[in-house]
């Protein structure tokens, strides 16, 4: 579709409310931000940005295949450190590659809702990452989306293409510094995982108490391809709603979603929507929610369209306060015979039996609680290099859970 067609669709969807999540008044945010100066290297970024990136597990060091950093609406770093990976800001990539028109707004509809429409009408900003055919990278590409101005509507549109037989790991930290009183982040991401490519995406969010977040993600996975998608949010947010869609389009494609949420306030609505459209495909979605306050809706939907597809959903929630709510919605939709689809959902408190067991070993009640909670959050995050696992573990163990 040509650009004007996309803009036309977007214009018509300008007031279209999203199916899920609280409605955001887009008019109350500013679109324009002061342009930031570009730097040659992530090392040259302002310390505040480096520190914020570190806080979401993004160390902008040599152990990366590349880096992308966006401050407000400006891509300030877009740099590859590995021949197998191409990294550009999306506006430059669109200018350079005509073929990108075939990937632009193809997995997320520009008129899906007012948020996608808003991004479609704005100048394109975001990253383009391409893992070249057959090239395997061990170190992750590290990206940081930094929302540094109060009242800004930060819009991002990313495209990732993992070409045939490639291996790619991307860790993205999205964050606001504490001085940002209020803000909105809309991130559109389209991920193309081609034949036999293996990709992991890890996203760590750390927003402010007055920040609203609307990621819109579409994924397609071809024959033999696999995607491990990890989403981690441990800090307060005002509202957040996301429901990424993954289509397993080729034989033997695999998708795995892991979500870890620690909620103290706000309105959080997260989940994943997976379509198993080819033989021998399998999908797994595991979410762990700890709620000390705020409303959390944990969704998961799997649609089985071909015989032999396998899907499993797991939504586990620990509700540790009367001030909070966890609403777990696992959905399985089978459309043919010979499917193997299942789900487990549990919402409750810390098991007294486990607490007593650990206390009988001499752990205090607080110590035992914290051990149980940390264990609960410790989902097996597959498809990640060890460094990255450690980084995520460090984030989880930083959380102070004494109030539990």
């Amino acid at each position: 579709m040509c650009m004007s067609g996309i803009e036309e669709k977007a214009r018509r969807a300008r007031d279209k409310k999203a199916l899920y999540g609280t409605d955001v008044d887009l008019e109350s945010y500013q679109s324009e931000a002061k342009p930031q100066s570009k730097v040659d290297d992530a090392e040259d970024l302002p310390n505040t940005v480096k520190k914020a990136a570190l806080d979401v597990g993004v160390t902008l060091d040599d152990e990366s295949s590349g880096a992308y950093v966006q401050m407000d609406q400006t891509p300030v770093v877009a740099k590859s450190l590995h021949e197998g990976v191409e990294i550009m800001d999306i506006a430059s990539a669109l200018k350079k590659y005509d073929f990108l028109q075939d990937y632009w707004w193809k997995l997320v509809a520009a008129d899906a809702d007012k948020y996608t429409a808003d991004v479609a009408e704005a100048p394109p900003t975001g990253f383009f990452i391409r893992a070249r055919k057959g090239m395997k990278t061990v170190f992750p590409v590290k990206s940081c989306l930094y929302l540094g101005s109060t009242n800004l509507n930060q819009r991002v549109h990313n495209i990732v293409i993992a070409e045939e037989g490639s291996e790619l790991h991307v860790i993205t930290g999205c964050t606001t510094p504490s001085h940002v009183q209020r803000g909105l982040h809309i991130g559109v991401s389209e991920y193309y995982i081609q034949k036999n490519a293996k990709v992991s995406f890890t996203m760590v969010h750390s927003w402010g108490k007055e920040v609203e977040v609307r990621p819109r993600t579409g994924v397609t996975i071809a024959e033999g391809g696999s995607m491990y998608n990890n989403y981690i949010m441990l800090r307060p947010v005002k509202t957040l709603q996301t429901f990424p869609t993954a289509t397993l389009a080729g034989r033997g494609a695999v998708a795995s979603f892991n979500t870890v949420i620690y909620s103290t306030m706000g309105n959080i609505d997260v989940g994943s929507d997976v379509f198993l459209n080819a033989p021998e495909t399998s999908a797994e979605s595991i979410s762990r929610v700890i709620c000390m306050g705020g409303d959390v809706i944990a969704r998961g939907r799997m649609t089985g369209n071909v015989p032999g597809a396998r899907a499993h959903l797991e939504c586990a929630g620990l509700l540790l306060s009367n001030e909070g709510r966890i609403y777990s919605i696992p959905e399985l939709d089978g459309h043919c015979r010979d499917l193997d689809m299942s789900h487990e959902a549990a919402v409750g408190r810390i098991s007294e039996e486990e607490l007593e067991y650990l206390m009988a070993r001499g752990l205090s009640s607080e110590q035992a609680t914290s051990v149980i909670v940390r264990g609960f959050l410790d989902v097996e995050i597959k498809g990640l290099p060890d460094d990255l696992k450690k980084e995520i573990k460090d984030i989880t163990s930083r959380e102070d859970l004494k109030g539990a």
Binding site: G362, Q367, V371, G375
Partner: protein, 244 residues
């Protein structure tokens, strides 16, 4: 020296009395066996000594190392030196066995402990998650080896365990209760619940008690009591050994 002294203890759960006027003394260095049919309060007694909070103490008191621990919390009791192997412990998701051992005792020699129970392969596993009956027993023993309690309480350490592992568990109980040392030098004590007494072939018990209806009704030599129970049942045993 008296390590544990239970005086006139009556305990209930809800409106149901589960222990009745129970008295028990265990000296430092002694290991006692508890016999009795199902539902007579053996496990309850261990739970109450450990301090599991579901129970209400209606009467009496529990003294440990000269301190009244009747209303002390579980973790305080554990830190004072009481350790228990659970019969059906819960699995703790995301907590690896080796990490738990480190929390129980930061000085513990984890690899030696695991090796002594032939349990090295389980170091990285979540505690008790997907463990078989026999593996759970070994996991419990490993944790007690790290804890090194002064009073070790074991609830049927021989149930569901094959012969080879019974011997292993018996050895560890002897080690925990210092049976390798001369009686005068032992300071560690134990209470073992056993149904059929299999474990007593592999470990040493100094004294045994028979429980019926929430009370200790008979005490004596473990071998003699077990013999009588085998011959004439629990009731018969009480009539015979205790009147003798």
């Amino acid at each position: 020296m008296r390590l544990l002294e239970i005086e006139d203890l009556s305990v209930s759960i809800g409106s149901k009395q589960v222990l009745k006027d129970l008295n028990l003394r265990i000296n430092s260095g002694e290991t006692h066996a508890l016999f009795g049919p199902n539902g007579t309060g053996k496990t309850t007694l261990l739970n109450v000594i450990a301090g599991i909070p579901r129970y209400t103490v209606d009467k009496g008191r529990i003294m440990f190392k000269g301190k009244d621990i009747t209303h002390m919390s579980m973790d305080e009791r554990a830190r004072l030196g009481i350790g228990m192997a659970f019969q059906r412990p819960p699995a703790v998701r995301g907590l690896r066995l080796k990490d738990l051992i480190k929390i129980i005792n930061p000085q513990a020699d984890i690899s030696t402990i695991l090796k002594s129970m032939d349990f090295e392969a389980f170091a990285e596993r979540d505690v008790n998650r997907g463990f078989s009956g026999g593996e759970i027993k070994r996991s419990e023993m490993v944790q007690l080896l790290a804890q090194q309690p002064d009073l070790v309480m074991l609830d049927e350490p021989d149930s569901g365990v094959d012969l080879e592992n019974i011997k292993l568990i018996g050895d560890v109980i002897n080690q925990l209760t210092q049976k390798d040392q001369r009686p005068s030098q032992r300071t560690k004590s134990g209470i073992i619940i056993t149904h059929f007494g299999h474990i007593l072939n592999y470990m040493k018990a100094d004294r045994a008690h028979v429980m019926l209806g929430g009370a200790i009704v008979c005490s004596g030599n473990p071998g003699e009591i077990l013999e009588q129970i085998k011959r004439s049942g629990y009731e018969g045993c009480v009539g015979c050994v205790c009147q003798a």
